[in-house]
């Protein structure tokens, strides 16, 4: 599998991205990586590392998209950006999947423009994996669509269910709608309408799920609009970091010297590893015609490595075909319902 990696995207690019690529290639012999970005900058970093025997190459792209650029502007004006060139390579068949830790709005817009959507999909969504008390769950949309219609949430439910079957390897993922009350009629205008659509579909729908319950593992897929999803994701990240920081301070102030501090540090290390976003390696854009994986801007080399592996598996196991087929089933069912009415 040939992965086009945006070498310039993310807070620690290109060095960290290159490290991630090397780690992925060292662990997985089926992969090759094309580093897309400023050729001289990428080559300078590459030369510092020993990777002569790895299937790694460079594709020049003269421009870089900044984190605060608008998708529309980037699409119009930066036609030779690392994001655009990487996506063009997938379109041209020179790569099987792309990975970027850059401006996620621009990746989304460019993928949409260049690669297009799977048939029937109105809006692609970012599907982020988050840890739960039991295991983990899929949150979508995690930020691609800030203003959604009920139909979009319904489609996220269909795509999320299909993807969860695959990545979690479960027969019937439980799909919940993120809302502010468990009762069917609770929510805002958007979720109340979406509730009816999902309820009336073949999706294995468990109803509304409240914010406090997403981490208990009640649902395998949590559906929401991209604004709410992004807030939920970021609040969780911020809070997890804050809690670990608070506990460390408490420990430093009140417990140091009283016990074996290595035990305490050990417990924290395991916890951080378990909840570390980088373990999950990026979030796919579900609904786009080819595999595109978005990484956190703060991605470490481990996060990049895992994202490259996810991209490889995404392509290798034909996840898009699975989603397409589920989606077509759901669509034709919807049409037959409409025809019968």
């Amino acid at each position: 599998m040939r992965i086009a990696l945006d070498a310039m995207g993310g807070d620690f690019a290109p060095a960290t991205n290159i490290d991630g690529a090397i780690e992925a290639l060292s662990e997985n012999r089926d992969l090759s990586v094309i580093l897309v970005g400023n050729a001289s900058a990428v080559k300078a970093e590459l030369d510092k590392r020993d990777c002569s025997r790895l299937p790694i190459s460079i594709q020049h792209a003269s421009e870089v998209v900044e984190m605060d650029e608008s998708p529309l502007m980037a699409l119009r004006r930066k036609k030779d950006s690392s994001i655009r060139v990487a996506i063009n390579m997938v379109k041209a068949g020179d790569a099987d999947a792309m990975v970027s830790a850059g401006n996620s709005g621009v990746v989304m817009a460019t993928a949409l423009y260049v690669l297009g959507k799977l048939p029937g999909v109105e809006r692609p969504a970012i599907a982020a994996i988050m840890p739960s008390l039991k295991d983990h769950f899929l949150l979508l949309d995690a930020g691609a669509n800030v203003d959604c219609k009920p139909l979009h949430l319904y489609q996220f439910a269909v795509m999320g269910e299909a993807y969860a079957k695959f990545i979690f390897n479960i027969e019937k993922p439980r799909v919940g709608l993120l809302s502010i009350g468990e009762e069917d009629a609770k929510g805002n205008e958007l979720t109340k309408e979406a509730f009816k659509l999902i309820k009336g579909s073949n999706v294995n729908f468990i109803g509304n799920i409240e914010g406090q319950d997403i981490f208990s593992g009640e649902a395998d897929v949590v559906v929401c609009d991209g604004f709410v999803g992004n807030i939920a994701l970021k609040v969780s990240e911020g809070l997890a970091e804050t809690i670990v920081e608070m506990l460390k301070r408490e420990f430093m102030e009140h417990a140091q010297g009283k016990g074996d501090s290595s035990v305490f540090k050990d417990v924290f290390k395991r916890f951080v590893k378990r909840t570390d976003y980088s373990e999950y390696g990026g979030a796919p854009l579900l609904g786009i015609g080819n595999p595109c994986i978005i990484c956190h801007g703060r991605s470490t080399s481990k996060a990049i490595k895992n994202a490259i592996k996810v991209a490889g598996a995404f392509h290798g196991k034909g996840i898009l075909d699975v989603i397409s087929s589920e989606f077509n089933k759901e669509l034709s069912r919807g049409e037959s319902v409409a025809t019968n009415e």
Copy 2:
């Protein structure tokens, strides 16, 4: 100060509510409490406790609002509910403030209907206090208004700033707008319009604040619509509980016997105390004409106790007058801007 306490609201009512009232009265001699609810049930619980010397009385209410009842139905059909009777007492001048751990939507709707709004306020908001790494911050709206317009968010900013001055005792609270990017233009349709309104006002506005930054203490007031606010609040609660649970499990599995477990438990206890919502004792309905404090449905006696104290302080220190005056200043400024245009 005379506080009308909904004795029937909350998961552990009436016993826990009565315990909370007794604790509040034992600690604060300026307060008296009227327990509003089924007189025989309340009296039976009251008789189990020694509170003959405390200024506590009972006001009968024959009905109880369930947690899943719609505000409209409760307003129409349960005119003798504990929530309605408690609010009626405030209206009639028989109580100075009310506290309820019952159905918050019904409290909100009833308060709105019976007590009305402060002049100029379009929508009252629930202002919840949350812990941050530095201290704490105010989140509003925490769930009263699930579908908002830009003007509502702007008004939440004005009311939140005024309330934060008082409760946090700071001159210039920093007000942030919860969004999905720091840049001015990031957000959904609602927040982008609200951003402009708040930016153009006298509010000490620090711009957009992302989910991961609310706990770092960058803002004293975080403004959002009630759907997003409720999700953020509940996700935080759920995650904090999950993290503590995960860390405890890690400790049990890997660290037990290796060190002094009391040290570890001690650190957790301090942390839980610091972040425990019950320490903050309920969230006021800002914008309602009289003091109404909403408590968590799972409120412990400590939470009820602290809510009663907040209600007392809210009334005693004339917070509504302060908010009214700030609001009028902001409104007349807005009008003069409109006139000059």
